[in-house]
Symmetry: C2
Subunit: 506 residues, 2 copies
């Protein structure tokens, strides 16, 4: 019978210069060497410890751990290996004594490449001095067995270089190797192992949980709307088109049409987390061709303030939640990329668009009172708001109608304006929302004003013909929330495998 | 200033033959008529009641409700209107007395089309007999004001017809209008309002929460992987291709490659809920071109049994959770579409593929011992298992290697088999999983055996070169879980807006 693992392991081993198997004459040869491929051969059920479980109470006890070789340093008869599990590290030490540790074992261990996966068993030991540079500083391991489970090839960059503080890199006398963003992204599976990246994606996961928790508590239900649709949902320019079984299909640029259809289907409050696709040739720090949308839509009784009330409670809950649940992660991010903590108010500030324009004018800018805000004006308004109200997070509402999508409800008093809003963090727009047009005739009229071909949105318009409740909602990009909450400078840092006009791999 | 709502409402009103505005000479004219477009004009903050809040304790109190006209019947000087909110219904009654209710008001109310959205305020009243046919049977409303918020156009089908029990429709003397699946799907925003559909999508939402709750409690973290990728992840035949900024891109057929890359990135346990795309020309009751994948991937210490242990706890938690949290929803589904409740064991049965083949042979079938199971054989094996072990839910493991994807770990003892499994509900496969190949050399070799062009999966293979932990995982389709848990006969019933080879709208 052909045994796959033998062949594969052998071919891999030939490449490595370092010893991968013990000296056959070594009496301690059972205690080190590469393991056969872990292939569900047996199941001993032996406990594998987490570094976080280790403490002086376990002193003298034998434990088994699997992790990566974060660092290894052999010096004659001794070897110091730092084992890493995610962001946790512990030191394992080997001293040749010919009873538990042989020369061959030290030689073998010293030559294991960084980032390889190893199984180490050893005795928990309390050192005289705390171990410097390891997260587990109170105990170390006296290694009794070192087995390599998966060898790493030469690394394209050192994790230490990818983990350096921005401030250190920018020092005049800095002599570190720099790791460019492209190199990181090309080798994302290594880049993601740095403490800051481990933290960022834990925060990202927490944001999703917080978003859903808050909304479920407010009576929302989760929906999943199609990403393959017949017509562009947010305008035709930035849509990915594809062949769908012989007809043209589009990738949804938002769940807009479908979350509104859910409202017309008597799902009174709905939310969705899912990918949205934008074929925009934007090379900014804040645009991606694919990102994760957090969207909600809800019926309103009278006023879109009801949506803003939900938004306000939701985001304050999320910000509070990140701070309390992800304190260690936020600290890790701050260490590499320092920024001011986000300032936000217990009740989010809401100011009319017109008032925002007035504040900008007072500060010497010349915004178009019925146009959209440029990125630069948004940033400056953010500074003004921070100074005036001490908040990085606020709502600007009643935008000019002309700059909003066709499905936006016009303002009842002045049709130059609309029942819409944007929300900003640190001077950057993250949320866009509005009351929507729920009247099929008005919706048709508005689509015509925007010169949208009616046949491409006919089923959307039809949805409002059979009794449609007044409603509103908003959408926000997960990656932007995480980027701006954490004060990061590029959205590629908060996307697991970012997609931009130049990047489709890995 | 141009007022949008006037124009739109007026044009809509012209179409309706029924009175939309009160008789100007009626002293009670303020109490009925169509409202102006709800446009965030004012915000009185008046409480809108939910039907579920109504009870005899509120007797004599005036309440305001918004809902749909489920049914309305005018008879001379009286009118009975059934108001619906999602699945709840309450009766509102009007009797002409010229003090609180006028002839004009009864005429107006009687003519409101079914499914229109109305605001009704009235006095809570305890009738002598419970109201038959309403979910709220203990009280009714003496309507004092009836205002139509959004008028429904003539309906393509009656909700009552779309809500009939299967058994009634199949009676020999049945004389009901039938609503075909296509008619339903073409008008999904109406179809989704039936009690059974309201229930199905509440169950679907609950399944998502239960899935995440169970996994978060087991130390998993949520990830979001790209749906736009460079190469087909599950074979080239059934992939949607598109132009990605001048190069060819694909829509991910699963998050397989990327959840494994997350494992290589030190995220030890990850899950994802997201859309997956299959360009398959399958017209079965169980295939969609887009569905919601529930996926997980986790490191293992020794054996893929560790994955099965997680799977077992997860699904028992989910099934228990649906039963306890969605009892009313499951009952509503059962009423229209009766089926046996799902039988499952506290600890899920696991049998080897070979044993499954033996059982089929014993029952007179002739399965290919190293081939895949046909849908019919799966169904028959399901029957055998149900009879033998009284379970509709079981795991079949150690599938032939040849029928599994190239990234599946071969069996260590016999390379004709693999470290893989499928899981079945009611004789239909819902879950597919395995230990994965974590060795880059073996992975390359396996891809070559499957004749997969290496250049299309190079970045995937590269991810395993820098130390890769042993790992495994599985994926399951949300729509299939809901369909099979609820004993439904077609996956289009559990997809909000289903996509199949013929359907891209609405």
């Amino acid at each position: 019978m052909h045994m796959y693992f033998c062949h594969a392991q052998a071919s891999q081993r030939q490449k490595a210069a370092a010893p991968t198997q013990p000296d056959p004459d070594d009496p301690l040869r059972e205690q080190y060497g590469d393991t056969p491929l872990v292939q569900s051969r047996t199941q001993s059920g032996e406990k594998y410890y987490q570094i976080s479980e280790l403490s002086p109470e376990l002193s003298g006890q034998k434990v088994l751990l699997r992790g990566r070789v974060h660092n290894v340093r052999g010096k004659g008869k001794s070897c110091f290996l730092v084992l890493r599990q995610q962001t946790g590290t512990v030191q394992a030490v080997l001293f040749v004594d010919d009873k538990t540790v042989s020369r061959g074992m030290v030689k073998y261990t010293s030559a294991i490449p960084k980032e390889s996966i190893v199984d180490i068993s050893g005795e928990v030991h309390v050192p005289q001095e705390p171990v410097a540079g390891c997260t587990c500083s109170q105990v170390e391991l006296k290694a009794m067995s070192v087995k390599c489970v998966s060898r790493a090839a030469p690394l394209p960059f050192e994790l230490a270089d990818a983990s350096r503080k921005e401030e250190d890199l920018q020092r005049e006398d800095a002599q570190f190797a720099t790791v460019t963003q492209d190199t990181r992204l090309e080798n994302r599976w290594i880049d993601l192992r740095t403490p800051v990246n481990q933290a960022i994606f834990r925060v990202q996961s927490a944001v999703c949980q917080l978003f859903r928790e808050a909304l479920l508590a407010e009576g929302f239900q989760e929906i999943h709307t199609p990403k393959l649709i017949a017509g562009a949902s947010e305008g035709g320019a930035s849509v990915f088109r594809l062949d769908y079984m012989g007809r043209e299909g589009c990738l949804a640029q938002s769940p807009q049409f479908y979350k509104q259809m859910a409202i017309c289907s008597d799902m009174a409050r709905v939310f969705e987390l899912g990918p949205v696709f934008r074929a925009e040739k934007s090379f900014t720090h804040r645009h991606l061709c694919e990102f994760t949308g957090l969207d909600l839509e809800m019926t309103i009784n009278e006023h879109y303030n009801e949506v803003l009330d939900v938004l306000d409670r939701l985001f304050v809950y999320m910000f509070d939640g990140i701070k309390s649940r992800c304190a260690a992660e936020v600290k890790a991010i701050q260490e590499q990329f320092p920024s001011e903590p986000l300032a936000y108010l217990p009740k989010t500030l809401r100011i009319p668009f017109e008032e925002g324009m007035r504040l900008l004018q007072e500060a010497g800018f010349e915004p178009d009172p019925l146009g959209d805000l440029t990125t630069e004006l948004e940033r400056n308004l953010g500074k003004i708001m921070k100074e005036k109200y001490n908040t990085d997070f606020y709502i600007l509402y009643r935008y000019p109608l002309a700059v909003r999508p066709f499905y936006t409800m016009p303002d009842p008093e002045d049709a130059r304006y609309s029942n819409s809003f944007d929300v900003f963090i640190r001077g950057e727009e993250i949320i866009s929302g509005a009351q929507r047009v729920h009247d099929a005739a008005l919706l048709t009229e508005r689509a015509q004003v925007h010169e949208i071909p009616l046949e491409s949105i006919q089923s959307y318009i039809n949805a409002f013909k059979f009794g449609a409740p007044p409603h509103g909602g908003f959408g926000v990009g997960l990656e932007r929330v995480v980027m701006l909450f954490c004060g990061l400078d590029n959205i590629r840092k908060t996307s697991l495998f970012p997609r931009d006009p130049k990047r489709l791999t890995p």
